[in-house]
Each structure stands twice: as C-alpha cells, then as structure tokens.
Symmetry: C2
Subunit: 375 residues, 2 copies
Amino acid sequence: MKRFTPLVFAAMCAGVMAQVPPPQPPRVISPEVHADRTVTFRFRDPNAKEVMLSREGGQRVAMQKDDQGVWSVTTDTLEPDMYGYSFVADGVGLMDPVNPLIKPNLLNPQSMVHVPGAGLTWEVTDVPHGRVHHHFYHSGVVGDDRDFYVYTPPGYDPAAKQTYPVLYLLHGFSDDASGWTAVGRANIILDNLIAQHKAQPMLIVMTLGYGAPEIVRPAAGPRSPDLGRRNMEKYRDALFDEVIPQVEREYHVIKDRQSRAIAGLSMGGAETLFTGLNALDRFAWIGAFSAGGGGADYDKTYPGLDSSANSKLRLLWIACGADDRLIEPNRKFIAWLKSKEIQVTPIETPGAHTWMVWRRNLSEFAPLLFRKKTS
Amino acid sequence: MKRFTPLVFAAMCAGVMAQVPPPQPPRVISPEVHADRTVTFRFRDPNAKEVMLSREGGQRVAMQKDDQGVWSVTTDTLEPDMYGYSFVADGVGLMDPVNPLIKPNLLNPQSMVHVPGAGLTWEVTDVPHGRVHHHFYHSGVVGDDRDFYVYTPPGYDPAAKQTYPVLYLLHGFSDDASGWTAVGRANIILDNLIAQHKAQPMLIVMTLGYGAPEIVRPAAGPRSPDLGRRNMEKYRDALFDEVIPQVEREYHVIKDRQSRAIAGLSMGGAETLFTGLNALDRFAWIGAFSAGGGGADYDKTYPGLDSSANSKLRLLWIACGADDRLIEPNRKFIAWLKSKEIQVTPIETPGAHTWMVWRRNLSEFAPLLFRKKTS
C-alpha cells in the first residue's frame, strides 16, 4: 500500500506557510499507473459496506478494503487511453478525492486517469501547439451568459492574412463547453495530426450545446414534451446568429460552405445532423459520432432531404461503436439515408458510448476534412 | 428534503439516448442556495459515522443524517461570494458528487458554491467581456510540458496597433495555472473594473507557478532542503526566458518596466517578491497577497535592496488577512522594508488564507496599476 504523509510544504517554500489543516489520515495515492499499464485505484472510506470502481468503458468491479479502511483494486492491463472513473461507495458515485484530473460534466463529474502510450493522437508530443481561446458572451437567443472555445492551430497569426477552414465541434449531453478540450483533447489531437501533415490546419469552435439549458438542470416535475426539439432549434439559432458571425468577424477564417464543417458526439451528433443536413448551404462536411440518428421521425427532422444533397455534401461521416446501445438506431438512420440515395460514410468501430471512441472518431474524421476536390 | 429523480433525458433529446446507467438512488440536490443567502449542502453516505462540511473561510460543521442516508446542513446567512468546500466523511475530504462547479487544485480539489450578490467585482455582469487564451509549451528551463493563460481585455484587437500594459499574476501552492481564472475569476474582475473605468485595460498573464514541479507531487522520502529556493529560481527563469518573451512577441504589449506588473498570492506572492524586488529593471508595480514575506532571511533573499528602489517602484502593495496565520511574518517583512526606508503600501484586510481575500485583493490592486505619474 503506497501512501505518503504530506510534508508541511510551507516550511520549504521559503517561508510561505499554508494554513495548518486539521489532522488528516495518511494520504492515499490514487490512481497509480504501473509500467505494465495496469492501474491501482485507492479510496479511503472506513465505514462503507461496498465500494466499486466504475471506469469508462469497463464493467464495475468490486474494490477490497484493508485494515486501514482503504479500498483498492488493480485493473488488468489497459489500452493506452484516458479513462473517466468514479468510486461507487454504497451506491453513490464519487470523484477520487486525491486526483486533480477532473472530467468536467454538468450532471456527473468524474475523475480521469491517463494510461500513456506512444504514437496516439491525444498524447502531448514535442510538436508545435495551437492555442485554445475561451470566449464569454451573453446569448440573446438563449437568454443566458455562456461561453465557447476556439482552437487556433500552430502558426495561426492574427496579424497575418492567411485564412483557415473551421470545424464546429459539439459535445454530448451533460458535458460543458470545455468537454472537447478537457476530455476530448481535440487541441492535442489536431496539434499532432497537423504536425504529421495528416490534417489541414483548421480552427475548431467548441460551443455550449444547450439551446434550452433547463434540459441539463434538475427538474421537480415532468418536462415539456418539446424540450428536446427546442434544445436543438435554439442551439442552431445561437450557432447561426451569434457564434458563427462572431468567429467570422474575429478570426481569419474562410467564409464559405466548402470550408465549414460541423460534427458532434451523442446529443451533439444529433444537433449536428439536424443543423447540418438542414443547412447544406452552410456546411459541406458533416460528422456524427454515436448520435443514433437525431430524431425518430427522419422525414420530419430532415424535410426535403434527398439525393440532391450529394452535390453539396463533401462528407457525411456517421460513426458509432459496435457496443453502443445506439448502434441500432444508427444503422436504421444510415439505412434511411441510403433509401434516399444520399451518399454516406458509415463507420462502425469497437467500443461503446465513451470518450475513447470519440477521441478516435475525431482522429479519423479530421484528416478527411477540407481536402481539395480531386475529380 | 429536495431531490429529483433524473428523467431519462434520452427520450427527450429527439432520439438521443445515453447508455442506461445502473440503478441509482434518487439524486440529491447540493448545494442549494436560498434567497436569504443561506445554503443547504447535502451528501448521501448511508454508512458514514460522521460527515462534516468544510467550507473555505468557515469552521467545520457537523452534518445530520436522515433516514435515507443523506447528510445535510444549512449554513447561516453567507456574504455573497464563491466558497470552496468539501464533505469530510469519516475523516476523508470529498468533492460534492452532484455539483459540477469544481475548484481545481493539484493536491486538494474541492467543490465551489456561488452565493450571488450585486455590485461585486467577480459577478458576471452585462459588460463587454475579455477573452482567456490558453497556451501550451515545452519549458526548456523546467523540462516539462506546461501551460499558461493570457487574459486580453474587451476591445483587444490583434489586428490593431494599440498596445497594453501587462500584469503577471501568480497562483498559490497546489493551484494549477487555471487558478486565477477558475477560482479567482480574474477575467471577470477585470471585465467589470474596466467597464467601470476603475482599472486600465491590461493583459493578465497567469503562469504555472512551479519552477520545481516535484514540490507539488507526492514524495516518499524527505525533500531536498533547497527545493523551495529552486522552485522560486526556476519559476523566475521560466518567466523571464520563456513566458515574457513569448507574450511580448505574440501580443500587443508595452515592453517597459512602467507597463509591467507582477503580483501573486501565498507561494505566488513569495515568488512575486523574490522575482520582482530583485528585478526592478523589469517591474515597476509589485503586489503580494498573503505572501508572508517570501523568505525568512530577507537580507539574503533581497540582496542589495535599499531605498534606491523607491525611484523605480511605482507600487509595492503587500496585503494580508488579519485572520491569516501569515499575518505576523507579513508584518515582520513590512517592518524590515520600512527599516530599509523602502516605500510600501501595507494592507490588512478581514479574512484568512482564502480566495475570498484574494479576489478582493485583486479588485483593490488592479485599479492602482499603470496610472500616469501625477507629480
């Protein structure tokens, strides 16, 4: 059992003393990533009856308690990746209190563990890095104060005249606007793909995906039946009327449909399909990751969509993990698209409804974007 | 007891279904901020023997368990502010699992609660907002991959020629580079002060404050006795050799000492004093918040510092909360400065070693910066 007693760092910091905290039990180390890519998780909870490890993409596993009240479990060898996890103590999911790496989420914040690997797109490598710009604004469309993030690629120079294409990238239900950077590592993925000449240098705009923010807030009573639809429509309106105009004013971007892509995961994938397929005058590149199709009544959700879209769509890329519960709706939607003779790139990957799938989706999708027509 | 059962949001999201989670007990609502500015905290932990609320700036208070295993407590009326807190369950500090607002920290991440008020500098108001730019780079000085943040004020236009002064703003021990924005709300404070014409438009650069990052990592054995000193020196070297040159290359800033300020809290205050008072050729404005003086042996830490500094220093602003354990070292340091006939603005405020003090410090300090000489 590895632990350490925190030093009084104060004395070391050349006279900077923190307030002396109340006595604490010895600090537990968690997570501990071993060289063989097994991971030991530890959690002190002396009186819990049962503590489980809940790991993204894994089955819940029971942890064992030692005589100090510390529960622990060591995983099998894991694929190099970032994994969300929580400890489920007597039925309650908890963040790891000694792990600073948080997976932000509006309903279910968790902890994250990084199992490092080599040559993976989401690993920080010694290549030029882009920047992530955090914007704050009042949305007149939605009626709240909100934020969005803009990734600019390495070499982007606000003083120069070079212009770039833009990918609008949407998070999933219960994520916040930081999801695609803090968890999805979109900026690192693009840094690496650009350095390897696998993707065009591009901007990525990561918005807050709630047109009706009450959808992600606790509610005492039943929800309005049109909440889901309103959430998508107001999301689209804020994107079209507020975010895209601001981005195109403030950044050096190419303002035509051939240089504008939209993609998203889960709820953001549904918003992507609803927004993008109904606005092919704005977007030539569309990607949906684990979206499940975006609406049960396709004819109603995509009125007028037919094979004439093929002349406008440079890419309609629809991916889902084979172990995702949305795989069947996803297949159904693809079948509908094909019945309409709309050209689609259907992708089935290993994995479930997890960020491990979505980081790989972005890593595959981004290289396909903004290529010159070869015909 | 307010709770809600989460709806299956899936069905509402126009067909977007999340993976069905394992059965959960009814969701607890926490924190609940009431109109009278009392706050109810709730935490489900059926088998804990004792759960305490630990709130920034407050005494620990016992929570009471109901027959559902939910512990709760309602505070007295609180001053409008942002408060860090955790639940201490059988001696273990835990983040609130249902609160998405996290107080990032490398050793002790907590939750935060916002008790809103009016006219406070850290409240988002309907004024123009600046932006926060997140930079990533490999530090040759320290030997790691690290980040820093740059706030640009409203109206900052990379394409225009207007130049701005810069405040270098340092976090405390165990914070990460996001501390001054995520917790200190420096960007919101400056947005408001600038809109009210109380502060000059300026950039704020918020760096990672560890020159020796092992200082904030678990260690099995004793630390090198020079770790604190090395942490400060390498911090300064990275600031001078890497961060400042990059900022001055990439942003429209005024490159003279009259337009360069440095300030920090706690460990960052000590680094500020060490860095700034030994480099008056670079900084004319210096602020230390709850720093305690930065080094026990002042003559050794600030060799050669004497009253000739007064002709260079436009401001040496040294603040500490009266309930901070560092108030005595702080007074001792101010007495030493006075014995050297160095002009100093000593500030004692209410409060302890908390972000409530530091947000107010920044709100008072920033308006003093970069004023024209009136003599």
